[in-house]
Symmetry: C2
Subunit: 232 residues, 2 copies
DNA sequence: CACGCAGGTGTACGGCGTACACCTGGCGGT
DNA sequence: ACCGCCAGGTGTACGCCGTACACCTGCGTG
């Protein structure tokens, strides 16, 4: 049933093959359909075989995160801190857009792996190399929050509009009556992009807007010699 | 087995009682131990009885979010936009600190409920009342991201130190060697608070640092008459 | 040739969400 | 006084999940 079609025996599994298989499967069928049983089947193996290579599902998820982090570009060497950080974050973002499930998985990990710590450490290092005090670098990392990973907390994903244009119209009027401020944003955004109502806004622009606002704020504090001692 | 000890029959369930029971149970035993079966038992009822009041577990979670949002203070009427927004967000934060599971649940909802939309709408309204253009209000909401809910993406929770102080020492040296930038932050933070190594930093301060940096940035853009037309 | 051990297997358990058929007690209409 | 309805609660069962544990198998080494 599970055996190979071609005569050659399946190459033996190893941790890396398992992790990459898991990433691929999550990419294809969604993270919510990634189960040990599922993954085992995909790899042509019985579920329990996986446990020879990962301790349990949590460790599998940790390993998947490590694979993803490995896809992020390394820091550009001689760059100014601001452009360097920006590039790195936007590289992370590109990776996360390739693996839409990854942000949720990253958020769900209770402890960082060494690979993740390496990434964060090198990020802090870029601020330090730019002359930031330990103090400021610290708070600035907190402020970036999930954006060091290239994603922002989505307030909600693009709403799937009803196909029927009459229902669309009705829904729109209800929105406008009940949530006028949200509605006018939706209208403006739709107009900007000459697209249908409800089309979600330009994600990339929103992301860069936020990152740049933050980086500019950081720069200002840095130049002012900000210290956490002047906590008001 | 399940019947009441006192002669009086259990008051009949209703949606509200189910939701509040679920919130209480999550508070007590943690969200990961909240199951339909568990909750039913707590309410003195058979699991399937819950389905007369909520369609499924997803709707239960939606309802729990609504309960939490209901605990956030309403906007202070005559306040300046900046202090008004700040107060509201810090109120949300207080609520979320009472229900530590709530941030993860909010993040996990695929669609916002009407109650959530009301909250977001009123938040946008505060920016609009402060003179923000629709355009700027829009992007500014995105920038706040999960902070409108009073939480920030945690890079990782406080690490539980090993009890043995020798192991602590060893771990610390390994950290310092491998992740020097992270280590120096840890040292500085520990020194600030005269606490043990690894003690997590002052969360409230980090949060307010970020919110204030953002609000200041928003104010600057607002005063400059910023428009998304000048997208560089 | 025997042995060990890494890698793969089979079976089983307890937990989950929930579909579906059923029961029951009180209330409104006649 | 009776009947029928139906909201609310029950019982059973299914298919999924993660994974403990005992087992097998075949290769590399002594």
């Amino acid at each position: 049933m599970v055996q190979q079609v071609d005569g050659a025996r399946r190459a033996p599994l190893n941790r890396d093959r398992v992790l990459r298989g898991a990433v691929a499967l999550a990419d294809n069928v969604g993270i919510e359909s990634l189960s040990m049983r599922n993954l085992a089947q995909e790899l042509g193996v019985v579920p329990m075989a996986l446990y020879k290579h990962v301790a349990n599902k949590e460790q599998l998820l940790d390993g998947m995160v490590d694979v993803i982090v490995g896809e992020i570009d390394p820091p550009v060497p001689g760059a100014d801190w601001k452009v360097g950080i920006r590039q790195r974050i936007l590289s992370a973002r590109k990776v996360l857009l390739r693996h839409p499930w990854a942000s949720r998985v990253i958020e769900s990990r209770p402890q960082p792996t060494p690979v993740v710590l390496d990434y964060l450490n090198s990020m802090v290092g870029m601020f330090r190399a730019g002359g930031f005090s330990v103090d400021l670098a610290h708070h600035v990392m907190h402020t970036l929050g999930s954006r060091v990973w290239g994603f922002t907390q989505e307030l909600f994903p693009a709403s799937p509009l009803p196909a029927d244009p009459e229902k669309q119209e009705a829904m729109f009027h209800e929105m406008a009556a009940r949530y006028p401020h949200i509605a006018e944003i939706a209208v403006a955004a739709a107009h900007d992009e000459a697209s249908v109502v409800g089309r979600s806004c330009d994600d990339q622009f929103e992301f860069e807007f936020a990152v740049d606002l933050l980086l500019d704020g950081f720069e200002r504090l840095h130049q002012q010699g900000w210290t956490s001692a002047n906590r008001s």
